[in-house]
C-alpha cells in the first residue's frame, strides 16, 4: 500500500497557476466554438455602424442635443457598446459551467468540493470572461479611434481618470451580475430574471441610449441606482460631460457602490453555502 499524498497547502506559485488556469477556461470555451470568434466582431461591427448612422441622422439638424455634441454622443454611444462587450459572455445563461447552469443542474456541488472557495472560483472564471471581452472592446476602440469616429481621451489626466472609473465601473457591474447569479440558490431557475436584469442594466447604464437623452424620470432613477456607475459615469468623464474637477466625487461614489455590493455578495455567498440543495436526495 502506498502512502497517499495530497497537494501542498497553497503557496503563491501554485495559487497563481490555479488562477491562471481558471482565467483561461472562458477563452478555451470560445475556442471550442470557433464560429463565435467570427460572430463577436461581426455583430459588434454591425451594431457600431448602425449607431453611427442613427446618431448622425439625429444630429443632422442640430449641433447640440441633451448637452452633447455629435462627436461626444458618438463617442459615448459607441464606447458604451464596446464596454457592454466586456461582460458579454457573463450574460449568457446557457454556458455549461456558469453558476446559474451549475445550480440548475446540480453540478454546483463540485464547487463546494474543491480547495478553493466557490466565490473565488467564480471571480477568476468571470475575470477570464471579462478579459476576453475587454480584448474585443479594446480592438474596437483602437479601430474607431484610428478611423476618427470617436474622440481620443482628454489628455493624460483624463485618460487616467477614465481608466480608474472604467475599472470601478466594471467592478460595479461584476458584483451586480454576481448578485443575480447567486439568486439562483434561492430561485433554482433565473433565466427570466437574467434577461430582465440585463435589459434594465443596459437601459439605466447608458448602453441603449446615452443617459442625458433619457426622460427626467428615468434619469432620476438611473442617478440613484448603481447601473449608471458602470458605464455612464466613466463615459461622461471621458467625453467631458462631467468636468474633470468632479472626478474625485464620482470615483468615490463608484468605490462606495463597489464596497456595498461586495459586502452584500459576501453575505449572500455565505448564506448560499448553507442552502446548497442538489436534486436527488
Amino acid at each position: 500500500m502506498t502512502v497517499l499524498q495530497v497537494g501542498t497547502t497553497g503557496t503563491e506559485a501554485p495559487r497563481a497557476r490555479r488562477s491562471w488556469r481558471i482565467l483561461r477556461i472562458g477563452l478555451l470555451n470560445e475556442r471550442a466554438y470557433r464560429v463565435r470568434l467570427v460572430v463577436a466582431p461581426v455583430t459588434l461591427a454591425v451594431q457600431l455602424y448602425l449607431y453611427d448612422r442613427l446618431w448622425t441622422a439625429v444630429f443632422s439638424h442640430t449641433r447640440v442635443a441633451a448637452g452633447l455634441t455629435l462627436r461626444q454622443t458618438l463617442t459615448y454611444s459607441l464606447m458604451a457598446l464596446l464596454l457592454a462587450r466586456i461582460r458579454w459572455n457573463s450574460r449568457t445563461f446557457n454556458v455549461r459551467d456558469s453558476l446559474s447552469v451549475a445550480v440548475r443542474e446540480g453540478t454546483v456541488v463540485y464547487w463546494f468540493l474543491r480547495p478553493i472557495s466557490p466565490s473565488r472560483f467564480y471571480m477568476w472564471r468571470q475575470s477570464g470572461d471579462m478579459i476576453y471581452g475587454a480584448f474585443w472592446a479594446l480592438l474596437g476602440y483602437i479601430v474607431l479611434l484610428l478611423a476618427h469616429i470617436i474622440a481620443p481621451p482628454r489628455g493624460a489626466s483624463g485618460a487616467a481618470v477614465f481608466a480608474a472609473s472604467l475599472l470601478l465601473g466594471q467592478m460595479v457591474l461584476y458584483y451586480l451580475g454576481q448578485l443575480v447569479d447567486i439568486a439562483m440558490f434561492w430561485l433554482v431557475s433565473n433565466s427570466a430574471i437574467v434577461r430582465m436584469y440585463y435589459f434594465i442594466q443596459d437601459l439605466l447604464s447608458g448602453v441603449f441610449v446615452p443617459l442625458p437623452f433619457m426622460p427626467a424620470l428615468l434619469l432620476a432613477c438611473a442617478t440613484w441606482l448603481p447601473f449608471s456607475f458602470g458605464i455612464n459615469v466613466p463615459l461622461s468623464l471621458y467625453v467631458g460631460r462631467t468636468p474633470i474637477g468632479h472626478a474625485a466625487r464620482e470615483l468615490a461614489l463608484q468605490a462606495l457602490w463597489v464596497v456595498t455590493l461586495a459586502v452584500i455578495s459576501r453575505l449572500l455567498w455565505s448564506r448560499a453555502g448553507r442552502r446548497v440543495m442538489v436534486q436527488g436526495g
Partner: protein
C-alpha cells in the same frame, strides 16, 4: 480505535429540511405566496456509523432513503442539523478546504468536467485547482489509463463522449488529487456490462493497491456483491442494517425457495417446516422455515403430492433487498400508525368530561 483512526465516524447525524407546502383550495397560489406553509422533513435521522480506512463500503437504500444527503454531509457540502460527523478526523463542513483535498466524489450523472473542453484539459484544470504535483499527476493518469483506457478518448471534448466514457473520466477526475476517501453516488448508472466491469476492477485496485476508502451508493446489487465487503442499509434516513451481504441474506430470508408443479390441482397445501409463499392450483412456491432445509421440503412434497416438476432456487440478492425495503416500510407505517393512535389517545385523555 479513536475517531482519527477511522475514515468516517457519524454519531446521531441528522438533517432536517424546511420545505414550503402549497395551500389548497381557492387562491392557493396567492395564499402560498403571502403566507407559505412550511413543513420540516427529516431526511437523515440519527445516523450512527463508522467506516475504517481502506474499506469499500456500500451505502444502500431505496430512492429517497437519505443516501445522497448523508454523502453530502460527509463531503461537507451540507451542514448537519444535529449530531457529529468526522471524515479522517475532520469535521467536513467546518474544515471544508482541508477536507476537499482529502476526498473525491462523483455524483451520478452530474459532471465536474468542463463540457466543451477535451478531457485532458479538464484534468489539467483540476490538477492546478488541487495543486497536484506534476509527478503525482503523471503517475495517476498512467495508473488510471492502464485500467480505464482513458487515452483512447481523453483528447475528445467531454460533450462528445459516450456515457460510459464520461463516467470513467469523472471517476478519474475525482481521484486525480490522490484522495484518501472517495464517495461515489451511483457512478455506474446507465453503463454497459463491459464498462461496469472495467470500473469495478478499477475501484477494487484503488482500494487494494492504493489503500483508498470508498463509499459507494448504488442500486446495482451485482456491483455490491462483487465489490463490497460491508453493507450499510439506510431507509427513511435511519441505519437499518450494518454487516456483510451474507449476514443481510441470513437476516432477511436468504434461504433458497422451492418451486413445484403438480400433475393436478392441490387444494390444501400443508407441509411441515415450510411457509407457502404462493399457491395457484397446480403451481406453488414454498420456503423452508426454522431448521427445515430445501431438501426436507422437496422430500415432503414428493411423498405427499403428485409432483411432476420440482426445483430449488437460490434467493436473488435483488429479492432480498426488495424484502428488506418493504419490511422497513411496513415497520415505519406500523410506527406511524402507533404514533397516530397514541396521539389520538392523548387527545382523548385531555378532552374535558
Amino acid at each position: 480505535m479513536s475517531d482519527a483512526d477511522l475514515a468516517i465516524v457519524t454519531r446521531g447525524l441528522t438533517k432536517t429540511f424546511t420545505v414550503a407546502r402549497r395551500h389548497e383550495g381557492r387562491f392557493a397560489g396567492f395564499r402560498s405566496l403571502i403566507d407559505p406553509i412550511h413543513d420540516r422533513r427529516t431526511v437523515v435521522d440519527d445516523l450512527t456509523m463508522t467506516v475504517e480506512k481502506g474499506e469499500l463500503v456500500a451505502l444502500l437504500g431505496p430512492n429517497g432513503a437519505g443516501k445522497s444527503t448523508s454523502i453530502k454531509m460527509l463531503t461537507g457540502v451540507l451542514t448537519p442539523s444535529a449530531g457529529e460527523v468526522f471524515v479522517d478526523g475532520r469535521v467536513p463542513h467546518r474544515d471544508r478546504i482541508a477536507n476537499a483535498r482529502n476526498i473525491g466524489a462523483v455524483f451520478g450523472q452530474k459532471t465536474q468536467l468542463w463540457w466543451d473542453l477535451p478531457v485532458r484539459q479538464s484534468f489539467a484544470i483540476l490538477r492546478d485547482i488541487f495543486d497536484v504535483p506534476q509527478a503525482v499527476y503523471d503517475r495517476q493518469l498512467a495508473d488510471f489509463d492502464a485500467i480505464l483506457e482513458l487515452s483512447d478518448f481523453w483528447d475528445t471534448p467531454v460533450r462528445h463522449l459516450s456515457l460510459g466514457q464520461r463516467v470513467r473520466c469523472e471517476i478519474a477526475g475525482a481521484m486525480l488529487h490522490d484522495p484518501a476517501i472517495v464517495f461515489l453516488d451511483e457512478p455506474t448508472i446507465g453503463m454497459d456490462v463491459v464498462v461496469k466491469e472495467q470500473t469495478r476492477q478499477f475501484l477494487r485496485s484503488q482500494v487494494e493497491e492504493r489503500g483508498r476508502t470508498i463509499v459507494l451508493t448504488t442500486h446495482d446489487m451485482t456491483e455490491v456483491a462483487r465489490l463490497c465487503e460491508r453493507v450499510l442499509l439506510i431507509n427513511h434516513g435511519r441505519l437499518m442494517f450494518d454487516g456483510t451481504l451474507d449476514e443481510l441474506k441470513a437476516a432477511h430470508g436468504g434461504k433458497p425457495i422451492v418451486n413445484v408443479t403438480f400433475s393436478e390441482p392441490v387444494s390444501a397445501l400443508e407441509v411441515p417446516g415450510t411457509k407457502v409463499v404462493s399457491h395457484d392450483g397446480i403451481q406453488a412456491v414454498l420456503a423452508p422455515i426454522g431448521s427445515s432445509t430445501p431438501e426436507d421440503v422437496v422430500r415432503a412434497l414428493i411423498s405427499r403430492f403428485p409432483v411432476v416438476n420440482i426445483g430449488v432456487v437460490e434467493t436473488n440478492l435483488e429479492d432480498v433487498m426488495r424484502d428488506v425495503y418493504l419490511s422497513t416500510l411496513d415497520e415505519r407505517n406500523s410506527d406511524e400508525r402507533d404514533g397516530d393512535q397514541r396521539a389520538v389517545e392523548t387527545s382523548t385523555d385531555r378532552r374535558p368530561a
